[in-house]
Amino acid sequence: MTRRQRRMVLVLVLIGGVGIAAALTLEAFRNNLLYFISPSEVVAGKAPPGRAFRLGGMVEKGSVKRAKGSLKVQFVLTDFAHSVPVVYSGILPDLFREGQGVVTSGHMGPHGVFVATEVLAKHDAKYMPPEVADALKQAKRTTTSQVGAKP
C-alpha cells in the first residue's frame, strides 16, 4: 500500500468507527431519556403510558402517611393547581419533608397513583429543585389566567 492508500484506509476506519459509535450513542440516548412532568400535566393525561418518567412537586402538608413499622409510605405531590398521589417503598432521603419540593421517578400505576422507585430531595434546605420551581410557576400562571378568564 502506498502512503496515500494507507491514509485513506485509516480515514475510512475512523469515519466508520465514529459513525457506529454515534449511532449507538443516539440509540442509547433515545431509549434512556426521562421526561420531567408536573402534577398538572399528569392530571391532563400527558404522562407517557407504560414508560418511566420523573414527577416533581411540593409534598402536600399533612399528606405523608406511613403504616406503623413498615417501609411503605404514601404522600401527595402538588403544584397547587393539581395533585397526584404517590406510593413509595423504602427509605426517604434526608431532606424529604412536607411542604418541600421533591423529584420522584417511577411510572403511573392503577387509579392515577404514581408508583415511585426513587425519591430525590435536594441537599440544601433553602434550595428548590429548578424543575419544581418552574412547574409551580407554570401551574400558577394557568390557574390565574383561568380565574381571570371567568366573567
Partner: protein, 658 residues
C-alpha cells in the same frame, strides 16, 4: 481590617497579573529580553498576593468573623477547626479563590522549574497562564467577592453545609482543582508552542511530566469524590452519573487521551496537531466543569450557587478562551508537519484508537450532560438522562479499550508484522481464556456474562502487562540492573494499566454480587443478607459539636460469630435544620458491610438500608494504582536529563529566538 487587606491583595494580584500577561507576550513577539524577563517576577508577585488574600479569608473563618458575609453563610462558632479551614472552599466565592490560588501555585511552579526552557517560551507560557488568572480574578472581584462585609454583622454563622463536613470532602475539591488547573499548564504550553511556531518533540517532552502530574491529581480528586459520595450520601453507590461528576470525568477522559498522545508526539513526532487539540479540549472541559458546577444550571446536589450574572461571565470567559485558542489553532496548526511516518499496524495506530475511544466516551458524556440543559434553555421540555444511557455507551467502549490496552504496549512503534504480533499475544490470549474458564468453574451458576467478560478482560490486561514487564528482564544483566535500566515511566505505565484491571474487577463484581435491602427493624430483631446477620440493638441520642445524632447500634454476625458492631447515625444540624445520614461501614478487602440509618417508623421500629458490597474497595484501589502509576511516570529521570541537555544546547542560542 483583615478582610479589607484580603480584598486589596486580590486587586494588587490582578494588577500584577495584567503586567504578567501583556509585557511578556509582546516582548516575546518583539524579541525584547527585558519585557520577557518580567514574566517570572510577576508570577511570583501574583502568587504572593493571592496567597495573602487566601490567608486573610482563612483567618476570618478561624476567628469567626461573621461580619464577612461569606463566613457568616458558611461557618459557625461550633464548627470544628478542620471544617473551618476546609469551609473556605465550601461554597462559590471561596472555591473560586482556591481555584485562583492553585492556578497561581502552578504558575509559580512553572516559573521556578522552567530554568531550562528558552526565555521566549517561558514568557509566552506564563503570559497565557496569567490571562486565565486575570479571568478568574476579575470574576471574583466583579461578581463574587469573598470579602464583602455584612452590615450589621451576624451574631452567629449559618454553619457549613453538613454534607461538606466530612474528611473526604475536605480534601476532594483541592485535589480536583489541582487536576483541573493543572491542565492549564498543558494548555499554555500548547498555545505558547503554537504562538512561537515551535511544535517539536522537545515541546512534548516538556509538557509530559506536567500533564501527568495534573492527570494524577485529577484521578485522585475524582476517586476521593467517589469515596465521599459512597460514605456520605447513604446510597451505597460509588458513581451516579450526576452532571457534576460528569463535569470532572470529561476532562479526565480527554486528559487520559492527552497523556497517551503526548507519548507519541514525544517519541515519534507524530500526532502533533492532534495533541495540541487534546490539550485545548482538556482545559476547555475543565473550565466547562467549573462553569457547570458554579453557575447553578444543573439540577444536582452540588448546585449551591444560583446567580445568572456569574454563569454569564463564565460562559463569556469560556467563549473567549476556547474561541481564541481555536482561532490560534486554525491559523497556526496547518503549518505544523508531523514527521513520524508509521504503518497501519503499529503502536501509533493503536494509540490513535485509544484516543478515539476516549474522546468518543467524553463526547457521549458531554451529550448526556448538556443536551438536557440545551433542551431546557430552548423551552423544549425537561428531560434527564439516567445511568442506563451511560452504561449502554461505556460498557462496549471500555471492552474495546481494554482489548487494545493489552495489544498496544506489546506492539512496536512504526510497524509490525501481523504474524509477529499475533505470536507475541497468543500466549496471553490463551492464558486469559483459561483464567476465565477457571472462574466459570468456581462461580458456576453465580456467574453471568458481564462477570465472565470482566474476568477475561482483566486477566488479559494483567497477563499482557506482566509479560511486557518480564520482557524488560535480561538474564545477562541480572534483576537489579534490569530494573535500573528500565525507565520509571515504564513502571508507571505498568502500574496504571494493572490499576485498570483492578478497577474493572471492582466495578463488575460489586455490580453483580452486591445485595441491598431496605428493612424496618425493632430492637432485638435481625435481618439476614448474603449470609450476614444484621441485628438491631437499639438507638441512643449522641451529641456532637454542632449536631445531635440518633445513633443505632447494629451487630453483624456470620454463623453466630460477631464480626463487627456498626453505629450508623442520623444527624440533625440545628442551625440549618438539616438531617444527614452518616452511614457505618465495615471495610474489608473483599467485601464491605454497609448500614445506613433511615427514620423512626414508630413503635421503636427504625428503617435501615443494608448493603453487602463485595470487591467495592477494588474500585478505589484500582484508581489508586493509576495515581501511583502517574507519580512514577512523572518522576522519570529522563525528563530532567533530557531537559538539561537541551538547556545546554539552548544556551548558545540568542535569547528570544524560537
Amino acid at each position: 481590617m483583615i478582610p479589607e487587606l484580603g480584598h486589596y491583595a486580590l486587586i494588587l494580584a490582578l494588577c500584577i497579573t495584567l503586567v504578567q500577561v501583556v509585557l511578556p507576550i509582546i516582548g516575546a513577539a518583539r524579541g525584547d529580553v527585558r519585557w520577557m524577563s518580567v514574566a517570572r517576577p510577576a508570577a511570583v508577585g501574583q502568587f504572593v498576593f493571592v496567597a495573602v488574600a487566601y490567608a486573610c479569608l482563612t483567618y476570618a473563618f478561624i476567628t469567626d468573623d461573621f461580619s464577612v458575609a461569606y463566613v457568616a453563610q458558611n461557618s459557625n462558632s461550633a464548627l470544628p477547626l478542620i471544617y473551618r479551614i476546609s469551609g473556605v472552599w465550601g461554597a462559590h466565592e471561596g472555591s473560586l479563590l482556591l481555584w485562583t490560588l492553585i492556578l497561581s501555585t502552578w504558575t509559580l511552579a512553572v516559573a521556578v522549574f522552567s530554568r531550562t526552557l528558552t526565555l521566549a517560551f517561558v514568557a509566552r507560557v506564563l503570559g497565557i497562564m496569567g490571562f486565565i488568572s486575570v479571568g478568574f480574578l476579575l470574576f471574583m472581584l466583579l461578581t463574587s467577592d469573598p470579602f464583602s462585609r455584612l452590615l450589621p454583622a451576624a451574631l452567629e454563622g449559618q454553619d457549613l453545609n453538613p454534607l461538606l463536613q466530612d474528611p473526604g470532602l475536605a480534601i476532594h475539591p483541592p485535589m480536583l482543582y489541582m487536576g483541573y488547573v493543572g491542565f492549564s499548564v498543558a494548555f499554555s504550553f500548547a498555545m505558547a508552542a503554537l504562538l512561537g511556531g515551535q511544535l517539536d518533540s522537545a515541546w512534548a517532552r516538556w509538557s509530559r511530566p506536567w500533564t501527568t502530574v495534573a492527570w494524577t491529581f485529577l484521578t485522585l480528586g475524582i476517586t476521593l469524590g467517589s469515596w465521599w459520595a459512597y460514605n456520605e450520601l447513604g446510597w451505597g453507590g460509588w458513581w451516579f452519573w450526576d452532571p457534576v461528576e460528569n463535569a470532572s470525568f470529561m476532562p479526565w477522559l480527554v486528559g487520559t487521551a492527552l497523556i497517551h498522545s503526548l507519548s507519541v508526539t514525544e517519541k515519534r513526532g507524530a500526532f502533533k496537531t492532534w495533541t495540541v487539540l487534546l490539550a485545548l479540549f482538556a482545559f476547555a472541559l475543565s473550565l466547562l466543569g467549573t462553569f457547570l458546577v458554579r453557575s447553578g444550571v444543573l439540577t444536582s446536589v452540588h448546585a449551591f450557587a444560583t446567580d445568572p450574572a456569574r454563569g454569564m461571565y463564565v460562559l463569556i470567559f469560556l467563549g473567549i478562551v476556547v474561541g481564541g485558542s481555536l482561532i490560534l489553532y486554525a491559523w497556526r496548526a496547518p503549518r505544523v508537519r508531523s514527521t513520524g511516518d508509521f504503518k497501519l499496524l503499529s503502536r501509533e495506530t493503536l494509540l490513535l484508537c485509544n484516543n478515539i475511544i476516549l474522546v468518543v466516551a467524553a463526547a457521549s458524556v458531554l451529550l448526556g450532560t448538556l443536551y438536557p440543559l440545551i433542551l431546557d434553555a430552548l423551552n423544549l421540555g425537561k428531560i434527564s438522562v439516567g445511568p442506563p444511557y451511560f452504561s449502554a455507551i461505556f460498557i462496549p467502549l471500555m471492552v474495546i479499550l481494554l482489548i487494545l490496552l493489552g495489544i498496544g504496549p506489546a506492539a512496536r512503534w512504526k510497524q509490525n508484522s501481523g504474524r509477529w504480533l499475533f505470536g507475541r499475544l497468543l500466549t496471553s490470549a490463551v492464558l486469559s481464556v483459561l483464567i476465565a474458564a477457571g472462574a466459570l468453574l468456581v462461580l458456576r451458576e453465580r456467574s453471568s456474562i458481564m462477570v465472565l467478560l470482566s474476568i477475561l478482560l482483566a486477566a488479559w490486561v494483567v497477563v499482557t502487562t506482566v509479560i511486557n514487564l518480564y520482557g524488560r528482564y535480561s538474564p545477562e544483566l541480572g534483576l537489579s540492573r534490569s530494573i535500573r535500566r528500565t525507565p520509571r515511566g515504564f513502571f508507571g505505565m505498568t502500574m496504571a494499566h494493572l490499576g485498570v484491571a483492578v478497577f474493572t474487577l471492582g466495578v463488575a463484581f460489586s455490580g453483580a454480587f452486591s445485595t441491598e435491602q431496605d428493612v424496618g427493624l425493632a430492637p432485638g430483631q435481625s435481618y439476614d443478607l448474603s449470609g450476614y446477620q444484621f441485628r438491631f440493638e437499639g438507638v441512643k441520642q449522641v451529641p456532637g459539636p454542632n449536631y445531635i445524632a440518633s445513633q443505632a447500634s447494629v451487630q453483624v454476625l456470620r454463623e453466630g460469630q460477631l464480626i463487627s458492631t456498626l453505629s450508623p447515625q442520623k444527624r440533625i444540624y440545628p442551625v440549618r435544620q438539616m438531617a444527614m445520614t452518616e452511614a457505618a461501614v465495615d471495610v474489608g478487602m473483599f467485601r464491605d458491610l454497609y448500614v445506613a440509618l433511615g427514620e423512626d417508623l414508630g413503635n421503636g421500629h427504625w428503617s435501615f438500608r443494608l448493603y453487602y458490597k463485595p470487591f467495592v474497595r477494588w474500585i478505589w484501589g484500582g484508581a489508586l494504582f493509576m495515581v501511583m502509576g502517574g507519580i512514577l511516570a512523572a518522576s522519570d529521570r529522563r525528563y530532567r536529563l533530557a531537559v538539561r541537555r537541551e538547556a545546554t544546547a539552548n544556551r548558545y542560542l540568542p535569547e528570544g529566538v524560537s
